[in-house]
Symmetry: C2
């Protein structure tokens, strides 16, 4: 079993539609579990809940982030909203216990699931995959300075190779373009699938870094559209922003597979990092 | 009172957090209430529910469409998920009675609200407003053929002037560019505000029309980001798509105000119209 499968694994809980999960410290960044990983955890639970109705594949997932996910036990509470012929809709909440045993909701989700193997109809993509330098000319995220890696166990879960032209912020020279892109695969070689795509859409550093705003950029809202099942091999991931408004920015992501198919895209609304005091 | 204010008006229902509304036939298209108008109705109820906590303005709203909204009475059931310092999160469901008195949920929503007057921080927009011909050179949507207007009471609620270059689909010559844009204001002259923006983001014909796919394009998921309070005057609205995948398409929308401020943007995942039998 790959470490990713382990990270998103669940056991059915006593309450109907609820799934017990264990969030591992290995997927943290700055002390909290990566928000995209949490969305893959939730997607896996929803895939079980909706798979019985013939709709195991995420198509659209919208997440509202309420509190950081912490390492330790958690429960995904799912509720089927509508079972349909070609798609089903469900809601989900990720719940943990607070320090005093209180209920802490960290994410609320609405999602539409389908069966991608039965998806039919026209495809007409006018976007083009990013033009990335070859792998060996890219920068390994795991080569980040020790003080960065210390705060980001997450970086060691991915084999992430950043396009150097979009990684100059790491050496204090952000391009200002608001674009970060690179090659990605799981470090243990597990091939990508639709359940990994929500994670992939949040796996690059926040694009605010390339605007010269270092630090944590908390996500308020994050919607992922899964467009196709990815082919095996490296994925290419692009993050970009076209606007910042009143201290918040919108970050777009596109994920392309080894056969040049756009397999997922996402958009998130996040807060710019607060300047250090 | 403007007809738009009337359309989004509510009266508090008996159940805590619930709001009774009346959906008017005047806002229908093809028999169902316009999905954006429904989102403005829900936003108005959420603004009341969250306004008491100091967060009356929508910032991000994600809607999952379950069934068409029908003219007649309806209830918006709201639930506050998290009250925060600068933003609050809530969920909402729009409910109607079916033919046999059964509960029919038509939309589920997650939303973040804030106080835009207190929004502070950097603004840096790299997008530019659309280059529209002057009003008098644009095409009035209300000049559509009678057989179109008959199915679209909605068209008469807006003073919508389409850029002719993006409206050739109406005369059987879609450009294939996947772009529709125009000027917009409410027909009774009511000025735009943040509660109108969800409606505005869904007020143009579906962009699939410009791909030569005429007919109803049902929305699965629709997320609106409100970026600023609009200035009085005409708004400029742009709809475009950059990809169709397996019979579904993603439609982006930008709304610019009379002072060249990007006041809202949205993205929706919709199904291409099914070919006529």
């Amino acid at each position: 079993m790959s470490e990713f499968d382990d990270a998103i694994a669940f056991t059915p809980a006593d309450a109907p539609g609820s799934y017990d999960v264990r969030l591992d410290r290995a997927w943290t960044i700055g002390g909290g579990i990566n928000g995209g990983l949490l969305l893959s955890v939730i997607s896996n639970a929803l895939s079980d809940a909706l798979g019985a109705g013939g709709h195991p594949d995420p198509m659209s997932i919208s997440a509202y982030y309420l509190a950081p996910g912490r390492p330790g036990p958690a429960t995904v509470e799912t509720s089927i909203v509508r079972k349909g012929g070609s798609v089903s809709v469900a809601s989900a909440t990720l719940v943990q216990q607070g320090a005093d045993g209180e209920r802490v909701e960290s994410i609320k989700v609405l999602a539409t699931f389908t069966d991608l193997d039965k998806a039919a109809g026209e495809t007409d993509v006018r976007l083009t995959p990013p033009n990335l330098p070859p792998l060996e000319k890219c920068i390994r995220a795991s080569d980040a300075p020790p003080e960065v890696l210390k705060e980001a166990d997450l970086l060691q879960r991915s084999d992430l190779r950043l396009d150097p032209a979009t990684a100059m912020w790491a050496v204090g020279k952000p391009s200002g373009n608001g674009r970060i892109q690179g090659w990605w695969r799981l470090v243990d070689g597990r091939e990508p699938d639709v359940l990994a795509l929500p994670f992939v859409c949040d796996v690059l550093p926040p694009v605010s870094m390339d605007l010269g705003k270092l630090g944590w950029a908390p996500t308020l809202e994050f919607t992922v559209h899964v467009l196709a099942k990815p082919a095996p091999g490296w994925l290419r991931v692009v993050h970009f922003t076209e606007h910042v408004a009143a201290g918040h920015f919108v970050e777009d992501c596109q994920v392309w597979d080894s056969e040049d198919t756009l397999v997922a895209q996402s958009r998130q609304l996040a807060r710019l990092p607060r300047p250090p005091r």
